[in-house]
Point group: C2
Amino acid sequence: MAVVFERVAVIGVGLIGASIARAARAEGAAGEVALYDADEGVRARARALELGEVCDSAAAAAAGADLVILAVPVGAMAKALEAAAPGVKPGAIITDVGSVKGAVVQALRPLAPRDALLIPGHPIAGTEHSGPDAGFATLFKGRWHILTPLDDPRPEYAAGLDRLEAFWRALGANVERMDLARHDVVLAVTSHLPHLIAFNIVAMAEDLESVTESEVVKFSASGFRDFTRIAASDPTMWRDVFLNNREAVLEVLGRFSEDLAALQRAIRWGEGDALYDLFDRARRMRREVIEAGQDTPAPNWGREN
Amino acid sequence: MAVVFERVAVIGVGLIGASIARAARAEGAAGEVALYDADEGVRARARALELGEVCDSAAAAAAGADLVILAVPVGAMAKALEAAAPGVKPGAIITDVGSVKGAVVQALRPLAPRDALLIPGHPIAGTEHSGPDAGFATLFKGRWHILTPLDDPRPEYAAGLDRLEAFWRALGANVERMDLARHDVVLAVTSHLPHLIAFNIVAMAEDLESVTESEVVKFSASGFRDFTRIAASDPTMWRDVFLNNREAVLEVLGRFSEDLAALQRAIRWGEGDALYDLFDRARRMRREVIEAGQDTPAPNWGREN
């Protein structure tokens, strides 16, 4: 695979940052990878894992890089770019991996050097694990990467966008270009609300008086355990998502609650046909997800029971 | 493995019934397995799959059986036992696999022959697939099987209970004995509510005007896809669960909605610390589930991306 960027800087070495570093080197998409994390312990792990050249400042990592990737929680993006900016070279591409795009662009736009190209992005990939040790080279393979380009008329912006797309494709991702605001609404439905619901049910179960926590854990294989996996995701990352995509999340959450109230009423009044129709409809969506290659058809995800 | 029951009758050949037939024969826990399903097409499949002796009536399957297992949706239990009862021999054990126990016992108790032993049960095992083809012999291995014995003073009842426990252990399950009412409350939390939530979010996403169904499917790997798996479970089975465990489900659903409203408020008012604390708390539950051996620690359940 041809090198897409001679030097790539990764600011923030969590699951995503570490996976980018591994994937970029495994695929030969980057000539070299420089890394920085604000946490000294994480930098030490990144060194031990040999993820690339671990620098002692964001600016040092960014220095000379053709691509600077901000891989920190949404609420830490501004600080990360502020720290990296002094090192960013003219013409460099700055991108991010935040799950929210509108708020991130608002935060980053005033901070990006004027001769750099700010091209926000979001990989639809991850696991419930966090930190540099959780990263792996194949995380992005076959997954979508969404780019939400700004309205930037410079010809080099269009060229940079193509190059950034080539980089993500080299890492195995499928790339989709999307409007900022649309991204935030779509992700509120497909990602933010599901996580919120999972966090809520798991925290609720811990609080119940009627059922003990150990009973919940013991019989969790009847459905509950699946929610605990999603609810195990990084709390800082998710706090920032909800604080920064508030409007879209509140809107879809309102809709969810409204529908849930209708379902509650159907149960209370014993409306079997209404329940059946709704469950049957929900079932069809699974088929589409499988057909679109977005999940495995293996029962129980093929997990060993 | 020693034979626990000479002849086992399985009434209802879906995922669970077919798995019991396969497991009982694979483990040698049954001398022979007789099956019946009210659906002629399912009986034909059961024959083609060679699950055992497929009979043309429930009574014929039950005839001579030491153990009769009702493996039909909760709402169909009474009809299944009515049909099987003429064949049930004195001293036979009648059990079921329903996800609700209180309502099932109310339905079955008046129908069970007086010289039979009615011992309700519930395997905490399953996949999102349905029907005889979905069954497999290892479904119960390492999973819990809950027995909810009745208050029956006959000495042969206690002996039958031990024997039924031995049968499920032979199939690889861990067996727990529990009070009927407690079962229904615990399962409302660990199973019924999670499924209800999953059905609701998936049906809601299909109805949205702001985001298309194809967008939801395309980017479902960001969280949503996990809910589609749970929501793919058999709609008839789940309709019956909600109609028959109404009180416990409504109570825990009320609690869920209350907590969700508090979470909604925290998002609206930007209460980052409250969100973080709740997400962090939810995360801990995952560790307990893993430590209890109730789920795989592999990231993303080890599914291939």
